[in-house]
């Protein structure tokens, strides 16, 4: 496994950073925070022109056929820029599951549109209890001829207002094992019976919604994967999404540390730069230490997923638990070290602070993932 980047990957990173600095500065991010939908179609189109949405899709679907590590490099830069666009939802929660599990007909229909920036999608999974587990899925889909009638209320759905389609988890039969009766459906957002309402969440850049489905008609051809076989797919989505979230989080941490260190060099108190005080210096040294030890865990997780290794789940849970803790810790320190200005709405630090909380609580928080780590370690020792 190589922890470093090759020449092409270096170029991708530099290009992404330059592009986002120019096209998605904080002024734009803040504009989108106040926007009901949360993204600008122009930026989305430009990203598609660079081939980002279809980065890992095969060429036959209009993609660039690059790999998972490349996608992580891009995600790291997006996490750093706090990009205001439904990229994570569309690629990680919608595009990749279609690529890996949908029928050829659906792939041919959906993937080129996603790659061209003409389709936005997201996953509607969590419900009232807010927890990532099979029992949490209560929505039901009943078969009526060649269609299903889907009903239920989904919570914490990212970018729902921007979405053209939802990938919805619903129960399709009665079974004592909650993991054996979930099916994934592609639901058109414009279909009768789909109601999207905003949630007032702390992270206003990556917006979340409550989505109600009431007797929504879904053709049976819009099932992704096997009937009743949705939970395995959801676990795979979570695995890949968590690895990618780690990349985003590392990018965010990078911004937090850099911004804090720069501030400490420029801000004067008692006649000297505050960065000369050991009390502050040591906190920043610890921030650096934490980040430098989180990054390799993230790279390992991404590479193991890319290689489809059997221990990828363990690598991802280790990385997710650690990166999420580190991102929270860095943003706590970021606010503290900025003093009063760090506690204001005007300073950008709170945007990262809030993103850290969203990241930590999506697809299992650190406590959840440490429990997975313990289970996996136990299995290894059997």
């Amino acid at each position: 496994m190589d922890f470093g980047l090759n020449e092409e990957q270096d170029m991708l990173k530099t290009m992404a950073r330059d592009f986002l600095a120019k096209e998605c500065p904080k002024a734009h991010v803040r504009k989108m925070m106040d926007d009901a939908v949360g993204y600008s179609p122009e930026l989305w189109k430009k990203m598609a022109e660079l081939g980002w949405q279809g980065l890992v899709f095969p060429e036959e679907y209009g993609g660039s056929a690059m790999n998972f590590r490349d996608l992580a490099i891009l995600s790291e830069e997006m996490g750093r820029a706090l990009v205001a666009a439904p990229f994570f939802s569309t690629v990680m929660l919608f595009g990749l599951p279609i690529l890996h599990y949908a029928s050829d007909a659906i792939k041919k229909e959906f993937l080129p549109k996603i790659a061209k920036g003409e389709m936005i999608g997201t996953l509607a999974l969590l419900e009232a209890d807010g927890d990532f587990w099979a029992e949490g899925v209560r929505a039901k889909a009943l078969k009526r001829g060649n269609s299903y009638l889907l009903s239920g209320t989904k919570m914490f759905v990212t970018d729902a207002k921007a979405a053209d389609y939802f990938l919805v988890a619903a129960r399709t039969r009665v079974s004592p094992n909650p993991e054996e009766n979930i099916t994934l459906f592609l639901v058109n957002a414009k279909e009768w019976g789909v109601y999207v309402s905003s949630l007032k969440t702390m992270d206003m850049v990556r917006k979340q919604y409550e989505v109600q489905f009431s007797n929504v008609n879904v053709p049976a051809t819009h099932i992704v994967g096997e009937l009743h076989g949705g939970w395995q797919i959801i676990q795979d989505i979570a695995l890949q999404a968590n690895a990618m979230l780690c990349a985003e989080m590392i990018g965010g941490c990078d911004w937090v540390l850099e911004t804090t260190v720069n501030y400490a060099k420029e801000r004067f108190a008692f006649g000297v730069p505050i960065g000369s005080f050991q009390g502050l210096k040591h906190r920043m040294a610890d921030m650096y230490m934490e980040l430098e030890h989180a990054r390799p865990l993230m790279i390992r997780a991404v590479e193991y997923v890319r290689e489809n290794r059997s221990d990828a789940e363990l690598a991802v849970s280790m990385a997710k638990a650690y990166c999420a803790d580190v991102y929270e810790s860095l943003t706590n320190n970021g606010v503290q070290l900025h003093g009063g200005i760090g506690f204001t709405w005007d300073h950008d630090m709170h945007l990262y602070f809030k993103r850290a909380r969203w990241s930590a609580n999506t697809f299992g928080n650190p406590v959840y993932h440490r429990d997975i780590v313990a289970q996996k370690l136990e299995q290894q020792l059997l």
Binding site: F3, V272, S276, F277, H282, M284, V367, A374
Partner: protein, 415 residues
């Protein structure tokens, strides 16, 4: 790689394997074999014997030119040899300080005769070294050394005391930092000498630590006479010589991390023994491994161990890319890994205390101690990890100032 080259490396691998089998102590690696432990003469003699054997066979002594006794081999061959040694485990090197600290310092600052005389015997393990740096009043503030040397003809007369000396008991030679100028400003008043432990006026004693072991010692110099030719670097330039040694010491942290990843290691395996310990301990009738609080903490320990272990290869990838221009900055990064390891180890020690409960009080030597008291020893020993080789606080200053570029407190005050 060409087939020819691959075949050659495979042949070397077989050769090393056969050699190890034939030369390792009888029964090595079997449960019956008990290697002498701790800081005993037996342990030291075994390592000395082993290193000489390896050196004569051309399996150690890399990284130095032939004229100074170095064994020159292509990098791929060295990798193969190290991998094979890592696979079986070996009695190791007698005094790592000679190899890791004295040799690089000699290479950078030693006179030609010193390099020719001392480096070969360091590489072969025949002579061990210690480092006379810290003093009762010069720890983190190393520039404050009080051991004083005055010139007397072709000799220097040294008076003073050093402490926290690793390998104090077995060293044949030492590097000594001495104040040789009472008037010159800080950092320009020090000189470094090589000293022979057999000189009159030298005395060493064990320093009893909170572990009840004497891993470190104290050294006393009572008008000890060192010949002028043993000076390393120039008079008054000792601070810079010492800095070379300390940089080498810091990078040991990085080296340790690198060492662990030669072979593919199973994820989280660093916590295997913690899981076994927690499984074996019952409290209120329930195994601690079944308790979610302990499971969480052990999982965290596994994650932190992995983070520490893979920091090494990640660091090397970064260093390769940075090239020579950033090499100086990168040498400071070892402080990052060193601090991380010290803190991880201490958190782990606190977890061990909690798992052992009342038994965490039983020291080595108690017949009731769990696993012969090794866990409890670690509980105590780990507290030294954040003090030795640069305290965590000094390392934080290094990270903040040398890597993050934050201003120095004293420089700001002066301005």
């Amino acid at each position: 790689m060409t087939d020819d080259k691959t075949a050659k490396l495979e042949a070397l691998r077989k050769e090393v394997r056969a050699w190890l089998l034939a030369n390792l102590p009888k029964g090595w690696g079997t449960p019956e074999y008990k290697a002498p432990g701790g800081f005993t003469q037996e342990r030291h003699d075994l390592a000395k014997w082993w290193t000489k054997k390896c050196y004569d066979a051309g399996y150690t002594g890399f990284g130095y030119p032939k004229e100074y006794g170095g064994i020159e081999r292509p990098r791929e061959e060295i990798m193969v040899i190290r991998e094979e040694m890592l696979r079986t485990g070996t009695p190791g090197y007698p005094s790592s300080l000679g190899l890791l600290l004295a040799a690089p310092t000699l290479m950078a600052h030693g006179q030609e005769w010193q390099k020719k005389r001392f480096i070969p015997k360091i590489l072969s393990g025949e002579e061990s070294w210690c480092e006379g740096f810290s003093e009762p009043n010069a720890g983190s503030d190393l520039a404050n050394v009080q051991t004083y040397g005055v010139r007397d003809g072709k000799e220097w007369v040294i008076k003073g005391q050093k402490c926290w000396t690793s390998m104090w008991k077995f060293a044949d030679y030492g590097i000594l930092v001495v104040k040789t100028d009472l008037k010159a400003p800080r950092h320009r008043n020090l000189t470094v000498f090589i000293f022979d432990v057999k000189i009159k006026g030298f005395e060493r004693r064990p320093l009893r630590q909170m572990t009840d072991e004497s891993e470190f010692g104290e050294m006393f110099f009572d008008d000890m006479r060192i010949p002028q030719e043993n000076m390393m670097g120039e008079e008054g330039r000792g601070w810079y010589v010492a800095m070379t040694t300390l940089a080498a010491e810091r990078s040991m942290g990085g080296e340790q991390a690198v060492g662990g990843q030669q072979a593919e290691v199973r994820l989280g395996s660093g916590a295997d023994n913690l899981i076994e310990l927690a499984r074996s301990r019952k409290r209120f009738g329930k195994s601690l491994w079944e308790d979610p609080v302990y499971r969480q903490r052990i999982a965290q320990a596994a994650i932190e161990e992995d983070a520490y272990r893979i920091w090494g290869p990640a660091f090397r990838a970064k260093a390769r890319k940075a090239g020579a221009s950033l090499a100086a900055t990168l040498s400071f990064e070892a402080s990052t890994s060193k601090n991380y390891w010290a803190e991880t180890r201490q958190r782990r020690a606190m977890l061990i205390e909690d798992i052992l409960g009342a038994y965490s009080q039983l020291m080595r030597g108690s017949r009731h101690a769990i696993d012969e008291g090794d866990w409890v020893f670690e509980v105590l020993r780990s507290r030294g990890a954040s003090i030795e080789m640069g305290t965590t606080e000094v390392n934080r200053n290094i990270i903040a100032e040398r890597i993050l570029g934050l201003p120095r407190e004293d420089a700001v005050k002066k301005a």
